[in-house]
Amino acid sequence: MAANTWHRLRDDRGARIAAGVLATAAIAATFAPWIAPYDPTLQPDPVGLRLVSPSWQHPFGTDPFSRDVLSRILHGARVSLGVAAGAMLLSVTLGAALGALAAVVGGWVDGVVSGLVDVLIAMPRLLVVIALVATFGTLSPWWLVALIGGSGWLTTARIVRAEFRDHLQREYVLAARALGASRWRIVWHHLLPAVAPQLAVAAALALAAVIPLEAALSFVGLGVQPPLPSWGNILLDGTDYLTTAWWLVVFPVAAVSLTVGSALVMADRLRVAIAGEERDL
């Protein structure tokens, strides 16, 4: 029973801490304009306030253009996590839909989807996305969502296809069909709820994969374009000052690591909770 999984998760300290970090990041991203002490693109004094180390006025210091790093990280969360969440949703939805289609329809549809997954999964994702971005020139955040999300559905499709095929052979599905439920009704009411916990794991893993991907793209200058801040391009601005202005590197890296780490912990704890539930059934 799915309710049990969530109860187990709620009683798990690691999961609670991870959820807290992710919730904090989401709140920071959502309310950045109201929380951030400064305008993230404002350059108040490029000479006098250049590379100021952390202080009460600028808790995370300032960058080479005298912009406030805390404000940029908060606004960067908006862009980075927004792109990541969008890409994660897209890839998980796409993966679930294609995996379900392959398992339920079978035949040549299954052949095409499975073949596509086998071919695409062999390609290094970052390089493919870099190649695509380089081909199309610089992209808006929406295109980043489409590209990153559109390239990340493979593992979800595999998981959903395997789980669906397993459940389709179980007697309760035969019983539901014997009593007149249509195929898509069974998918919607029996199979999707059955794989929901695994989908949640896939979503957490997708998030953990997508945040560094966006950061990496922005870091090499192909992702989010300045002056719009993202965690990747804040780091890019700081690379020349690694030895003299540590705060330009430490804070964006910490932001990425904390959110990715929390997403990974979340995925792990979810798995444990699911395994616990399977034992109970």
Partner: protein, 267 residues
């Protein structure tokens, strides 16, 4: 003569046969009929083709099995009917109870919701009304405290209670024919008797026909006026149950009767 409710004519089910291999027959020209309201037993040892027969009637044979012949149910030719037409009949006019209630129920869905799902699958739009109907039906199949237990998951109920849930699902839409595939063999003997008794009470109340599939002559002898004996995919007897008990003709029928004769005699 009234037309039969279900008429099975020369039903042939084969396994395999793809890629030039010789098909292995599972049912070999099975022919019998069920009249409205009648109780017919299908008796056979395991491997005789009982379950394939039940699945073939519902059009749910696994893809590796193919069916030929004619299955007429309420004027519909089931083997050639479209998928949608068959689906509309299943559960509504032609229903089934499976052997093992634990695996036949979705472990992650509350039992009330599974019964309500039946109504929903056949067009009920109002979720609350479906749920009320489900709780009502669970009460009528004798699930104690149905309004509370409807919110339980299958693993929280006993075997007998789970079988009652399956029965509630199968009977919710008032089918004309219920196929019961070994409905009691997963249950304790005392619970078996209760479930069989319930099955017959509901059958009388609704005027429903029952096709009781079992390997257990004891179960069939107490329930069915007429018995079809399946052996190796063939109908070897189709006689009144009394005649089967006193003078079985086919050696296989003889063996099945001998196996339980002391029990039946004393009953």
């Amino acid at each position: 003569m009234n037309p039969a409710l279900l008429s099975v004519e020369h039903l042939q089910v084969d396994a395999g046969g793809a890629r030039g291999a010789a098909p292995k027959p599972i049912l070999r020209g099975v022919t019998f009929a069920v009249q409205p309201g009648e109780t017919v037993g299908v008796l056979g040892a395991s491997g005789s083709g009982k379950t394939s027969l039940a699945l073939a009637l519902l059009g749910l044979l696994p893809p590796a099995l193919t069916a030929r012949g004619r299955v007429l149910f309420e004027g519909h030719e089931l083997l050639t009917a479209s998928r949608g037409a068959r689906r509309a009949l299943r559960g509504r006019r032609l229903s089934i109870v499976f052997q093992e209630p634990l695996t036949a129920l979705n472990p992650r869905m509350r039992v009330g919701a599974q019964v309500a799902e039946m109504a929903r699958a056949h067009g009920e739009r109002d979720a609350r009304r479906a749920m009320r109907g489900a709780v009502d039906m669970l009460g009528r199949v004798g699930l104690p405290e149905a309004d509370v237990r409807a919110w339980r998951y299958p693993h929280e109920l006993s075997g007998g209670e789970r079988q009652r849930v399956l029965l509630a699902m199968a009977l919710l839409l008032d089918p004309a024919l219920l196929i019961a595939d070994e409905p009691t063999s997963a249950l304790d003997v005392t619970v078996q008797a209760q479930v069989l008794e319930l099955l017959h009470a509901l059958q009388r109340e609704r005027g429903m026909a029952l096709l009781l599939v079992s390997h257990d002559l004891g179960v069939i002898a107490t329930s069915c006026a007429r018995t079809v004996v399946l052996h190796d995919g063939l109908v070897v007897e189709d006689v009144p149950t009394r005649q089967l008990l006193t003078a079985p003709e086919h050696p296989q029928a003889q063996a099945l009767v001998d196996a339980v004769r002391p029990a039946v005699r004393s009953a």
